[in-house]
Symmetry: C2
Subunit: 231 residues, 2 copies
Amino acid sequence: MTDTRWRPVKRTRTFEDVLAQIEHRIAEDGLTAGDRLPAERRLAEQLGVSRSSVREAMRVLETLGVVSSQAGRGPDAGAVLTSRPDSALTDVLRLNLGLATLELREVIDTRLMIERWAAAQAARARAGTSALAEALKGMDEAGSAEEFVEHDTAFHCAIAEISGNRLIAAFMRSLRESMSRYAVEAVERLGDTSGLQADHRRILRAVHEGDPEEATRAVTDHLARAYPAAC
Amino acid sequence: MTDTRWRPVKRTRTFEDVLAQIEHRIAEDGLTAGDRLPAERRLAEQLGVSRSSVREAMRVLETLGVVSSQAGRGPDAGAVLTSRPDSALTDVLRLNLGLATLELREVIDTRLMIERWAAAQAARARAGTSALAEALKGMDEAGSAEEFVEHDTAFHCAIAEISGNRLIAAFMRSLRESMSRYAVEAVERLGDTSGLQADHRRILRAVHEGDPEEATRAVTDHLARAYPAAC
DNA sequence: ACCACAATATGGTCAGACCATACCGAATCC
DNA sequence: GGATTCGGTATGGTCTGACCATATTGTGGT
């Protein structure tokens, strides 16, 4: 008991230090999307760590959707700061769904919350309903459940885009992607999609005419039809 | 042109293959939180790749909140499957806010959406208002803006917990954490917190009495007071 | 039975090498 | 002079092998 000193319970791993340094530098230097980070070897030298640790930090940043790495030479090469929260959110949701720690019910409720909000906002914005009409046409012409769901996703994501909130739009896309498997199953179980299409047309009309309350109601009814067990 | 064959535009990096394999195995074997993954060296051998690639994949999985690595030996050592979407969501939001690609307005609107939903659900659940009362007391006794915000966060997160939806609760926590800096600024700018506390008491009353509509209104008014510019 | 200590399995880190990619620039050819 | 070709070079991607830190497990002595 003479030489063993207590240490902080949680030691920080090297790559975590690197992460903190990089994030600090981003805040300090006011770096934004498009700016380049130093090369891995250079960063390793600057921080006095091995390249492996820098690389692990890069993987984390890439996973979080804030850097994009590109080999080669020139202005586009190296680690460039970006901002793609989509894939990160999607991965988080998909993997946690796969581990069965989130129940489908929770995801569907979340989706309902977002769709209601987005539809109301879109009705207030009253812009760009052409994307909605196009998705509607795609669903009409769909030959399989997968194809139908694909355009259905486009329809609902377009509403979120129109709402103007990129965070919510990204979250919407992630939710749809992570549960696309279940959506296909739901459509197949339903068989007939004419009811869903009637709902879609009602939503489109409400958005086009700028009626937030009706849009909210329409979306609520739509999801109640799509997921009868959960709602 | 005799031997150079075209390759798919996007080559997959080794660690991405490893990720896919692991995710596939999770789905295939029905692994859930608590189960262990093979050791890094063993996994590398099984998949025929280097340990570095396996480690980079582990970093990604850890970032996404689905594995937790522990050195040493025994049943708790190694890579264990978990499910902690919180830190992953928080990091995604915080870093993307830091890159100024998400505007504060978008985050606040998202928060408003979630809080309205959560308050209504909590009022329907009518359970566990003791955590709310405790947070309220903490805010009363707070000596600084930081301390006030800390208990304020606890209050609002508790509402999300009561709602019973873990995904939305996790998202709420992440939103609060990633914008805690701005919350402190807002409280300091406001100076007097008595108005906020009156709002909190009104929210608590609505939840306790099981009045979803009043809870929604109370939350809306509260956030309008907290972020006057954004609402 | 207990305790001290070695063995071992695990993640964490490092150094150095080599490959693949893509730009840059100089040499070459027309 | 302009276009083309080809080597140089900076970058990320991968591998190997070693060593360290940590924590359990086994073993031997008391």
